[in-house]
């Protein structure tokens, strides 16, 4: 079955440092989405990438979709304590449901 893996599983950074999480799918995706889940909260949609090689930015967040549409990354520049949470990628094969990645839990040390 389809699998979506993320690395690293955990990341601790000092406030102000950069952070990157990587997402890899076992199959080619039609699109990939990123979600953020704050501690005690529910996943919240951040962005969707559709095109091969696509790069999108949201303030300090940069999202990239690989050329082969099987991997993606999320990079946060100059982390802040508000960035704390678990970041999930979720891939779509074109069917109705999404395959959520294993998640990367980010801790930001003030």
């Amino acid at each position: 079955g389809q699998q979506v893996m993320q690395i690293p599983q955990y990341q601790h950074v000092q406030e102000g440092e950069d952070f990157t999480t990587y997402c890899n799918s076992s199959t080619t995706l039609s699109n990939i989405q990123w979600y953020k889940q704050r501690p005690g909260g529910h996943p919240v949609f951040l962005i969707q990438l559709v095109k091969s090689g696509e790069v999108k930015k949201q303030k300090r967040l940069t999202f990239q979709f690989g050329e082969a549409k099987k991997n993606s990354s999320l990079h946060i520049t100059a982390t802040q304590t508000t960035d704390v949470g678990t970041y999930f990628c979720a891939g779509s094969s074109g069917a109705n449901n999404l395959f959520f990645g294993t998640g990367t839990r980010l801790t930001v040390i003030p």
Binding site: G1, S30, N31, Q33, G41, H42, P43, V44, F45, Q48, F88, A90, S92, S93, G94, A95, N96, N97, L98, F100, G101, T102, G103, R105
Partner: protein
């Protein structure tokens, strides 16, 4: 986006009993899903709730254990039947406005503890 509510927000139940979780959306949506999330883990899709027909279950989940209803385009229920401590988890509903792997919006979740 969508505003999604879930009831109850949390519950503590005895082994062998059943709990029904409700999911209400403030607008009509095409797709509704039910997920389970163990603490510190990713989301596991239980089933897709289909309006007016039987839900579509993922591997490892069966209708007898997790009966699902979806009577209309804004409401769905998930029942966790004959509960055991292994069913302790957070249960989340999510919605999509369009089919085909579109953006999902999640409810706040129901935290279930089975003693």
């Amino acid at each position: 986006s969508a505003v999604i509510s879930q009831k109850p927000s949390r519950d503590i139940c005895q082994r062998g009993t059943s709990l029904t979780i409700q999911c209400q959306v403030d607008s009509q949506v095409t797709m509704m899903f039910w997920y389970r999330q163990q603490p510190g883990q990713s989301l596991t899709l239980i089933a897709t709730a289909n309006q007016g027909s039987e839900a579509t279950y993922e591997s490892g989940f069966v209708i007898d254990k997790f009966p699902i209803s979806r009577p209309n385009l804004t409401f769905s229920t998930l029942t966790v039947s004959n509960m055991s401590p292994e069913d302790s988890s957070i249960y989340l509903c999510s919605v999509q406005f369009r089919a085909g792997g579109d953006t999902q919006y999640f409810g706040p979740g129901t935290r279930l503890t089975v003693l």
